[in-house]
């Protein structure tokens, strides 16, 4: 075999291997894991109670500075699509109750949040860092995972079509 053909064959093999090494995306379009626990005010919160609604599950903490910017976005989404069956559930990660409740009061948002003081619930949901937001459709499937700050564009482009379909 000529050296040039050998090189081309080697290059093709490397490209095939590199392509084969890429892994598929995470857990989108899969059944949402169970999510139930005690809320910041001591109430019981269970995602299963919202079957039939579109649910935004938002992992957040009062010490997460980026999380502050998305609270008004959640409040607006709730106001716009609440009657169409959009619900919000928070997953309050490794936080303390007092600053967490003060955080929600300051931002004037209704975000019933499950206390995840040791972070294990968040790991069950595959949270990598804060903020992370999951969109659950009316059938209880995870249809989108948003890493980083939620924006109005995400609400319009991703959430609204699921709510109005």
């Amino acid at each position: 075999m000529r050296p040039t053909r050998l090189c081309a064959l080697g290059l093709a093999l490397v490209l095939v291997l590199l392509t084969a090494c890429t892994s598929p995306a995470g857990s989108e379009q899969q059944e949402a894991p169970e999510l139930a626990g005690t809320g910041l005010s001591g109430e019981h919160i269970d995602l299963a109670d919202h079957r039939g609604s579109v649910v935004i599950v938002a992992a957040w903490a009062s010490w997460c500075t980026v999380c502050r910017a998305e609270m008004p976005v959640f409040a607006q989404a709730q106001q716009d699509m609440g009657e169409e069956g959009l619900a919000l559930i928070g997953l309050n990660l490794q936080d303390r109750p007092e600053p967490a409740m003060a955080f929600l009061r300051d931002h004037d948002v209704e975000l019933p949040s499950i206390v995840d003081s040791d972070g294990t619930l968040s790991v069950h949901w595959g949270v990598r860092g804060l903020p992370t937001t999951f969109l659950i459709d009316r059938e209880g499937r995870v249809v989108d995972v948003h890493h980083g700050q939620v924006t109005e564009n995400w609400i319009e482009d991703v959430v609204a079509p699921v709510v109005y379909r």
Binding site: C21, S23, T65
Partner: protein, 314 residues
């Protein structure tokens, strides 16, 4: 002269007869070495405790928010939580492979520090072994008359490679759940740090332990003490600031982060955290800090999010 030549030639046959036992000694030693390798690979030694298992498994998992750090050694909040989940699953009697599969289902293959050996990926794993095998074959074929000398070490290498690649769960002999109760290390670390106030490693271990238990104010004090012991280490000041932030003291956290940047203006984690805080305060320098973060750490796990965030702002 002829007598002298005879004297010079005379030792040659004796030397040949001495080499033969030497070859056998080499062969026997190589064989014993190979058997030791097989024994070590197949027969587990002293049963590891649950804490050992948690650490060993955590060392195979990648911290999703860190650069090249494993879950066992990362101080990030999500790595703390992942260690707890590993501990829960070990206590339930799950094997290393089952726990890794559980994490892979949630975080993808990239959560494993050791890439999965499946599909075309097998080729990447088999290639070095194939090269080694071919090399050994060439060596043996080219030097048949020294088959014993070279064959035995080659066999040892092959056996060691085989032992390394053999699937096996070394944790099966672990004690049952509850036999190794987890106790807080804080009292021991506190006493040790009090006895050796200048020991930086102990001070950092205590700070991290306090942080793991959610005692952020106490952790911040210990990180501050560690920063006094090693004032030019921006990473310690970053940890101090993060503990302050988690304890609700953002103003002091900002001060400490600013000090960290005075020491190292390109410390990625500090740029990211201070940039995020300032960005939320509508400060223009927040954007500058985040742009600098992207310049110094373009491959950081958070880089894509920061990039998208800045584009959104523009």
């Amino acid at each position: 002269m002829s007598a002298g030549r005879q004297e010079l030639r005379a030792p040659a046959p004796r030397a040949r007869t001495r080499r033969r036992p030497l070859r056998w000694v080499v062969a026997v030693l190589a064989g014993a070495f190979a058997l030791t390798g097989i024994w070590a690979a197949v027969v587990p030694g002293q049963a590891p405790t649950q804490a050992d298992q948690v650490r060993t498994i955590s060392q195979t998992l990648r911290c999703p928010t860190c650069l090249g750090e494993d879950v066992a050694d990362s101080a990030s909040p999500i790595a703390e939580a992942m260690r707890l989940v590993v501990a829960e699953q070990v206590a339930e009697g799950r094997s290393k492979e089952e726990i890794q599969a559980w994490f892979t289902a949630r975080y993808g293959d990239e959560v494993l520090l050791d890439p999965p050996r499946r599909g075309a990926g097998w080729v990447l794993w088999l290639l070095p072994m194939g090269v080694l095998g071919v090399g050994a074959g060439v060596l043996v074929a080219g030097r048949r008359h020294r088959l014993l000398t070279f064959g035995a070490p080659a066999a040892v290498v092959a056996v060691l490679i085989a032992a390394w690649t053999l699937p096996g769960d070394r944790f099966e002999e672990a004690p049952p759940a509850g036999a190794d109760e987890q106790v807080s290390a804080i009292p021991v670390l506190s006493a040790a740090a009090a006895e050796s106030p200048g020991n930086l490693t102990l001070r950092l271990a205590l700070a991290r332990g306090l942080e793991d238990e959610g005692r952020f104010d106490d952790a911040a004090q210990e990180y501050a003490a560690a920063a006094r012991l090693s004032p030019m280490e921006p990473g310690i000041r970053y940890r101090h600031a993060f503990a302050l932030l988690r304890g609700g003291d953002q103003d002091r956290a900002e001060d400490v982060l600013t000090q960290s940047l005075d020491i190292d203006a390109d410390h990625p984690a500090t740029l990211l955290l201070l940039g995020s805080i300032r960005q939320q305060q509508d400060g223009a320098d927040g954007t500058d800090l985040l742009h600098r973060f992207l310049q110094v750490a373009p491959d950081h796990p958070s880089a894509a999010e920061v990039r998208a965030w800045l584009e959104e702002e523009d």
